[in-house]
Amino acid sequence: MSDTTGSPPTAPRRCARCLLLETHDTLVFDEAGVCNVCRNIEHKQQKIDWQAREQELHTLLDSYRGKYAYDCLVPFSGGKDSTFTLYALVKSYGLKPLVVCFDHGFMRPVVLANTERTVRQLGVDFLKFRADWKVVKKVMLESLKRKGDFCWHCHTGIFAFPMQMAIKFDVPLVIWGQPSTEYNAFFRADEPEMVDEKRFNRYVNLGITAEDMVGMVGDGIELRDLEPFRYPSKEALRALGYRSICLGTYIPWDVKEQTRIIEKELDWRGDLVEGVPEAYSYEKIECAMQGVRDYLRFIKRGMGRTNHLATIDIRDGRLTREQGLRMMEEHDGKRPASLDVFLRFMGLTEAEFNAIAMQHVVDPHRHDPSRVQRGPELPDQHLWKLE
């Protein structure tokens, strides 16, 4: 018996249409070299009868309106998608929502101001929750080490906590913003996406439930300390008779147009984001650590935030492939200035951070640290208070 060292890696492929790299989640290419996310979007743009869908939505909303203390629950971050969702449900559909914000602890000043303005202007009941900051720090480190992704508390809290509140306040209808099929292919685009425990486990929670995490992190943490991150039981959800849907299943999602609407109607404001052209100041402005998150993804998968944004605009015909490539070249992969803040907060050195990140590089991508340049500091970075 002989031993082999395995086959050599080949350079990652890009979608022939949208520039997504094959390291992105569940990407596969068809004979034309076009990725399954592009095909999902094509389906959305061509095959769906949006008028019929909106009629379905009206019927669905009618069956809940006025029957409970709140017509629906809207999970809310203050970013463009949840702000538009809330705006549309209140203004266009006349619902009385309970607005629930899971605060991940890294909200930037502009988003906080947006949130205040939006909930006051729209006139809605608003609930905001932040988990124990010491617990958050511990689980961040654990998930960074295990998955090369420090955002476990945020992923799980955002999707689990509002469901807990739906049960607590007896609000069976929960309405989220855009379906995941806009960005990845974890689900088929021809079926309405249910925001349920299966979806939570498939790709939201990094494959780690609170019950898993409690034994991983140890360090005196009990399961009840992780309650905000825990998906409610099937029995409790069944008793509520819940329905957890995406508004984007029923109306075609158009980020740019929707941003224009909330800017005009709610005075919603964008912000600069690290590693992203100024023109995209509406995207991912919520989190101070977005730059670090995107940098990690670049190390692991070779894809930065600008690449992601370019793919959306290319599919929508707002950008050519060549323009996209140029934009990526200019903005992606910079070492964010906010990494200093992150490292101080986590108590890690940059060498330790890099070593963890490099463990998580995804085949067939290879990261070359020698080519990394430092990016500029955001104007509000000095205002962030993490401790």
């Binding site: 031993d3 395995g6 989640d25 486990n201 067939p364």
Partner: protein, 476 residues
């Protein structure tokens, strides 16, 4: 609401079938009591195991007559699953010639592999082409995949009753319907969403409604594209799951029930669930059975259970709790006759022999008792012997590579896959996505097991299978 009687005749998968129907809000009774069968609205005959043993058990419990009466005379909706469908034939040829129930003009014969070099037993997911308009497949698009575990298939004289076909070396019957009698060769209770859709359709079908629309022709089914399986390994230690390195150093990797639920959602093809201290602590399979039972209640996907199995009674206990297959290791080495005994009772398709290999004095050697005990056995020779004795599948683990991220031992994998004609699951060492591909392409493995890859890297089965697909490997 429909009351479903699941026939208990001592032949496995009762619990998993019951749980799947319960998940669809059906009222379920698992029974061998004729009165219960008479009062039920629907009857399901599950079955894992050998043909002769199945017929013997039905007869011994006096069930033949009541079933004939309820199904053939009273026309109660009936679903036979896997062996439960095969028993409807006139005769079967597994371990000798046996008479069947004779409800269908059919016989049960070994899979016809044709000119292919396929493994003798089909274990895994395969596409099913179904007849348009057939009630069982209502709402399922294209050629959905289902989970199969069988070495024998139904050969029918009445092609008109075939509603679903699949291909493994040659075309074979995947589903039939003859009036109120439905049968499927695959395991709907273990085929995740598409499987539950089948069971739901069965619950909805009503004999008193106007007959089904005329069924169209059977579409062609593509030639076998055997799907490589991706199998997360779960190691139970006490009340938690752990991950080891070279069978030593342990790290907590999750909750015994929640972690399998995650893999289920992430489209893993199968789970291997092992109690890693049962043999060393000499305490049997009770703890494992408890875990299997809980997992079966939540995950409608294939599950192999192992660790601490010493006897056919232990095997029966685990199959009854919802395991589709069992994995035996130390006990098989100590008493190879156990393999044959179990194969005769439960059918070889549910018997995985697990072989742990460690380098000892510069040669590869089989170790047992969680890698602690040297056996002097050569892995290839032992694999051949196990296959000849009746093993249905080999789980081949390199202790040297386990938990190290260094890749599978391809040389070992290749040597064993070439030496036996049953499926081999490569295990130990997967550290990057490319390793999975190498085990299948260079190693010839039918399936790849992995754990560290999912616990300590940003990977999941659904992402890893997309990678495999991109390299041209058929995956579900």
């Amino acid at each position: 609401m429909s009351r479903v009687a699941i026939i208990d005749y001592g032949m496995g998968n009762l619990y998993s079938v019951a749980k799947a129907f319960e998940a669809l809000h059906a009222e379920v009774v698992v029974t061998d009591d004729p009165e219960q069968i008479r009062t039920a609205d629907r009857v399901v005959l599950p079955g894992v195991g050998a043909f002769g043993e199945g017929m013997k058990n039905l007869a011994a419990r006096g069930l033949t007559k009541v079933l004939e009466n309820e199904i053939l005379c009273h026309g109660k909706p009936f679903l036979g699953i896997c062996l439960g469908m095969q028993l409807l034939a006139r005769e079967g040829f597994e371990h000798g010639h046996h008479e069947g129930l004779g409800w269908l003009k059919a016989s049960v014969r070994p899979l016809d592999l044709g000119q292919s070099r396929l493994r003798k037993i089909q274990i895994g997911w395969n596409d099913v082409a179904h007849r348009p308009g057939s009630a069982l497949f209502a709402g399922l698009q294209g050629t959905p995949s289902f989970y199969f575990v069988h070495g024998y298939h139904l050969v029918t004289d009445e092609p008109g009753s075939v509603t679903g076909v699949s291909h493994y070396g040659s075309r074979f019957v995947a589903a039939i319907q003859q009036g109120n009698i439905f049968g499927v060769q695959f395991h709907p209770e273990k085929s995740q969403e598409s499987g539950l859709a089948i069971l739901k359709n069965f619950l909805r079908w009503r004999p008193d409604l106007p007959s089904d629309p005329v069924m169209g022709d059977l579409p062609n089914v593509p030639e076998t594209s055997v799907k490589a399986r991706l199998i997360p390994t779960l190691l139970l230690e006490g009340s938690r799951l752990v991950k080891t390195v070279q069978f030593g150093l342990r790290r907590d990797v999750g909750d015994p029930v929640k972690a399998p639920m995650v893999y289920d959602a992430q489209m893993a093809d199968e789970l291997v669930y092992l109690d890693i201290t049962a043999t060393i602590e000499d305490r049997g399979v009770d703890r494992l059975e408890e875990a299997v039972r809980r997992v079966t209640g939540e995950c409608f996907m294939p599950l192999t259970a192992g660790g601490g199995i010493r006897s056919v009674e232990d095997i029966r206990q685990l199959l009854t709790a919802g395991a589709d297959k069992v994995s035996i290791n130390s006990a098989a080495v100590e008493r190879p006759a156990l393999i044959g005994e179990a194969a005769r009772l439960f059918g070889r398709q549910c018997l995985m022999v697990s072989i742990d290999v460690r380098t000892n004095h510069r040669r590869r050697e089989v170790f047992t008792h969680g890698g602690r005990r040297s056996t002097g056995l050569d892995p290839v020779e032992w694999a051949k012997q196990a296959a000849a004795a009746g093993a249905g599948e080999i789980l081949l683990t390199s202790i040297d590579r386990e938990g190290t991220f260094r890749g599978y031992d391809i040389g070992l994998t290749k040597a064993v896959t070439e030496a036996v004609d049953i499926p081999v699951v490569a295990s130990g060492g997967a550290g990057k996505l490319r390793d999975l591909v190498d085990a299948v392409v260079a190693g010839g493995a039918s399936a790849v097991a992995a754990a560290s890859l999912f616990h300590f890297r940003d990977h999941s089965p659904i992402k890893a299978k997309a990678f495999m697909k991109r390299t041209g490997i058929h995956t579900r």
